[in-house]
């Protein structure tokens, strides 16, 4: 079963994303901020990351940069943000995000991205 880490400081958003991903049969783990996410990601390998930008302690950019520095298999990361500014998208890629989605992400949209990024055969 595929493991997905949902990183967001808003419990509502975490629950929303979890609901969608679990519906599709993925195992979901949550982290409240970048630090927690990093701890979890170093502990267990995840197949996909869903990362918010604006978070306390360590934001999404910081988390991804640190993660990408690690000598481990690098999972795809979907960066989720409300910032529509193009600069943000670029920063997300720079930091190590694999794609960039705007909140609120539609369930079908999220699943389409997740399925592709997880390499799931066409269902």
């Amino acid at each position: 079963m595929k493991h997905v880490l949902v990183v967001d400081d808003a419990a509502t958003v975490r629950m929303y994303h979890r609901g969608i991903l679990e519906f599709a049969g993925y195992m979901v783990e949550e982290a409240l901020n970048g630090i927690e996410a990093l701890e979890k990601a170093l502990e267990t390998p995840f197949d996909l990351l869903l990362v918010d930008i604006n978070m306390p302690r360590l934001d999404g950019f910081g988390f991804l940069k640190e993660l990408r520095r690690q000598p481990i298999p690098q999972p795809p990361a979907i960066m989720v943000s409300t910032e529509a500014a193009a600069g943000d998208e670029k920063s997300a890629y720079r930091a190590g995000a694999s794609c960039y989605l705007l909140k609120p992400v539609r369930p079908a949209q999220l699943l389409a991205h997740a399925r592709l990024m997880l390499g799931e055969e066409n269902k």
């Binding site: 509502t12 949550e30 694999s98 909140k103 539609r106 369930p107 997880l118 055969e121 066409n122």
Partner: protein
């Protein structure tokens, strides 16, 4: 209510509260960048959350708040009190909306206007450039009317009708038919009238052509209020006037029906050679136009039905272009290798998802090469070359013919499984949005702050069970006694006692543990004070600084909760009557800013809360005079009581010292409310005041109400419990020392005359008090409401700690008892409510 919505509400409340607190903190440190960032983050997150639901009223306000704070964060506008005020109002509004959602799961329709106003007032604080987009959203209420009234006499904009249609219409006119042009502008709130304008328009009899356009430029999606109708319809119909009047009979004020003059059709044909162009007569026509042909039913043009496939294609497109962008980045950060690996994972997975083994192995090879050289250029080249192939192989597999040979060859064994998953995923996917269940899991709590929200009833139940356990365990010593006395087995008796001590210890610890669960920090009550003090002092024109100390002090939840009202009352009083205005303070030589300190601390088994202000203090002379005027004290007392006692008279019922009755502290109901509330939870309250210097009010409360220490007394062969809080001391008084003053018995104890009352009399038991062999009477000195009184009882027993249960059912009306408790031998002990019986 769904768990997701519940989660949203609880988080929204938490965040609104947090935002309020941060705003408050910013008053002291208006340029603290960390605070501003945090504040922005909270509002931002809250807005993001609201976007998951259809709560445009909330999103609109929060969006404005976020924009405003964004400007503050970037230093484009400065933090100000006004800004804080408006944001606080906005947060209050969010709370109100949460209340709506909690009760009805939707936001009341009447809030839309408030929401608009609120967002507007926030945007008003922004420099001009940022406010533009919101303007359209607010004046929309009037605009449909305006457009409607502006050109009633003007020619209908028939030019917007496609040329072919116009020619056809013209032909019909020439054949003698009468055509009508309808301009239907539904009222913005028409949905609430039960109207379905779109349906009405479609059902217009004899419809030849129609269009729907926004009445105003549509606001950004996040601010769009879906409950307001922003459409207007232009319709061309061959129906008669009567038919049309009948069709639109419910909305005659919203339609304008004009008979089409054939010349208009031909005229417009002449005047606009390029009739497909947007027409200047309709300035808003350019965006969001849905042209409707009569043959086709009116239909929203977006929302293709095949959304899943579209989603997938769009996702693939966006992922591929993201990878391209990432590979093209020209920075060389130290995490570049990891980033490259991530791109590799994504591409590899994309190939796998397409079942394209060939591509997958290519990617692996290219990636390995790139990782060795540290250059991404090879991958860029591969992606450019293979992009289209990858997209094609993604589009191919779902079809039964499986045109991609590599796919079929690579996974023949997977075919059945694939088609199986296809069928079960196929129908499920369109329903995705509805079918997903959002639920809370144990992990939610593990990842959240490591605390648990538990229904208080559950804890109470646990508490009761432990209470019963404590009681049942007390049966063991009796059993041991019986084993020895009745059955003569001393060994067994000793063993039972041994077991008892173990159970006793565990039960005690359990009781302790569950009490800890019920403990809450006073900060729960304190946190509302910064806002309260700020608002009231602003209203009164006073400058006040609030100091909170010992917020982490803990006490039982019930205690903490019942503390809130008295504290608010006291603080209001201090603000209202205690602290002076800045002018007065300056004249007295005090600092202009007054200080109120609320301090909590634990002292032995009690929590002490002190509220101190450096205001004008209370004049004992005024209190005495007022108390005398109201008949609360007699002339003798007026002479006798000292200043300290006099000040404490402020707690007497009906005494209000304020010379001006202000709207904040109300009339007459003064500090007696505070005293009553505090006494209800077995607390005491005293006041100390120095005229001109300030006032301190000290509230002392028990840490927990769960276990009550009671002294057991005997009267007429029955046992009663008296709470130790009421007990002053126990004495034995020789019958000869009793004095009768008028009808009442008294005794002189420690140099004071103490009135005596027989417990039997108070409880309506006819037997008289029984003396011991030395003819001494047992007197339990109790205090109730500041008075000391001697209760004549037959004898004293031990003092025990027990868990009181309130009297229920038919017994709940018995005010003489505060509750009952089970004793170890299974008997019931009634606990006296001393204040009630004396």
């Amino acid at each position: 209510m769904t768990p997701l919505l519940e989660q949203f509400l609880s988080e929204s409340r938490e965040f609104s509260q947090g935002i309020g607190e941060k705003l408050m903190q910013m008053e002291d440190a208006p340029s603290d960048q960390g605070l501003i960032n945090e504040l922005f983050r909270l509002v931002h997150t809250l807005k993001g959350n609201s976007g998951l639901f259809t709560f445009p009223e909330m999103t609109r306000v929060l969006h404005a708040g976020e924009d405003l704070l964004g400007l503050v964060r970037n230093g484009q506008i400065a933090y100000s009190r006004e800004l804080a005020d408006r944001l606080l109002d906005a947060m209050d509004f969010v709370m109100v909306l949460c209340g709506d959602i909690e009760t009805t799961e939707r936001i009341d329709a009447s809030r839309a206007q408030d929401s608009g106003r609120m967002a507007e007032s926030l945007r008003a604080l922004m420099p001009e450039a940022q406010t533009v987009q919101s303007d359209s959203a607010t004046n929309s209420g009037k605009s449909p009317k305006a457009t409607q009234d502006a050109h009633p006499a003007e020619l209908p904009p028939l030019v917007e009708v496609p040329e072919a249609m116009r020619n056809e219409a013209l032909r019909q006119c020439h054949q003698g038919e009468t055509l009508h042009w309808i301009c239907y502008t539904p009222a913005p709130d028409c949905f609430f009238q039960g109207d379905d304008p779109f349906f009405s328009a479609r059902q217009t009899p004899g419809l030849l052509w129609g269009s729907a356009k926004p009445t105003e430029p549509l606001p950004p999606l996040a601010e769009l209020d879906t409950y307001r109708c922003l459409l207007k319809f232009h319709l061309l119909t061959g129906a008669s006037r009567e038919e049309l009047d009948e069709h639109y009979r419910y909305v005659p004020d919203q339609v304008r029906i004009v008979r089409v003059d054939p010349r208009w059709l031909s005229l417009s044909e002449d005047s606009s050679a390029e009739s497909t162009q947007p027409v200047p007569a309709i300035p808003q026509g350019a965006d969001g136009v849905a042209n409707l042909l009569p043959a086709a039913p009116l239909q929203k043009t977006a929302e293709p039905s095949n959304s899943t496939a579209d989603d997938k294609a769009a996702a693939l497109e966006s992922i591929l272009s993201a990878q391209q962008q990432i590979l093209m980045l020209d920075d060389r950060p130290d995490w570049g290798v990891g980033r490259l690996k991530a791109v590799g994972s994504v591409l590899l997975n994309l190939a796998k998802a397409a079942g394209d083994q060939e591509a997958a192995s290519e990617i692996e090879a290219v990636l390995a090469e790139c990782l060795v050289t540290g250059q991404s250029s090879l991958l860029v080249l591969w992606l450019e070359a293979s992009r289209d192939h990858l997209i094609a192989s993604h589009a191919a597999p779902p079809g039964p013919p499986a045109p991609n040979p590599s796919n079929a060859a690579a996974s023949p064994s997977k075919e059945p499984k694939e088609s199986a998953s296809e069928t079960d995923a196929g129908p499920a996917k369109p329903a995705t949005d509805e079918a997903i269940k959002f639920g809370r899991r144990a992990e939610d709590n593990a990842t959240g702050p490591r605390s648990l929200k538990v229904d208080q009833a559950k804890i109470d139940r646990l508490m009761n069970l432990i209470g019963e356990l404590v009681v049942s365990k007390n049966a063991l010593p009796y059993l041991a006694q019986r084993a020895e006395a009745h059955y003569g087995v001393r060994e067994l008796s000793r063993e039972i006692k041994g077991e008892y001590s173990v159970i006793n210890r565990i039960a005690d610890e359990m009781q302790d543990a569950i009490m800890q669960v019920r403990m809450m920090a006073v900060s729960f009550v304190f946190q509302r004070f910064p806002r309260l003090v700020r608002d009231i002092s602003r209203k009164l024109g006073k400058e006040v600084q609030l100091v909170l100390e010992g917020e982490q002090t803990e006490a039982d939840k019930n205690i903490i909760e019942s503390l809130a009202d008295p504290l608010i009352h006291i603080v209001r009083n201090s603000l209202d009557h205690g602290l002076e205005t800045p002018e007065v303070r300056r004249a007295c030589g005090k600092p202009e800013i007054g200080t109120i300190t609320i301090r909590a601390a634990q002292e032995a088994d009690r929590v002490v809360i002190e509220i101190t202000d450096d205001g004008k203090g209370i004049d004992p002379a005024i209190i005495k005079r007022k108390a005398y005027e109201k008949g609360l004290i007699d002339e003798a007392a007026l002479e006798r009581i000292d200043n300290r006692e006099a000040v404490n008279l402020i707690f007497a019922a009906g005494l209000s010292t304020s010379e001006v009755v202000s709207d904040l502290s109300g009339r007459g109901v003064g500090m007696d409310v505070v005293r009553t509330a505090v006494q209800k939870i077995n607390g005491t309250v005293v006041i100390e005041s120095v005229l001109g210097k300030g006032t301190t009010i000290r509230i002392s409360l028990p840490l927990s109400m769960a276990v009550t220490q009671v002294m057991i007394v005997e009267s007429d062969g029955q046992l009663f419990g008296v709470p130790m809080d009421n007990v002053v001391e126990t004495v034995r008084v020789p019958r000869s020392d009793l004095r009768a003053i008028k009808q009442s018995l008294t005794a002189v104890l420690r140099g004071r005359i103490v009135p005596l009352k027989a417990l039997n009399t108070l409880l309506g038991i006819s037997a008289g008090p029984r003396a011991n062999s030395d003819d001494e009477l047992a007197v339990l000195l109790v205090q109730a409401g500041g008075e000391v009184l001697g209760l004549l009882v037959d004898g004293f027993k031990e003092t025990i700690g027990l868990i009181q249960k309130p009297l229920g059912g038919f017994l709940s009306g018995l005010s003489a008892y505060s509750g009952s408790a089970l004793m170890g031998d299974g008997s019931v002990l009634m606990i006296l409510n001393i204040r009630e019986i004396v």
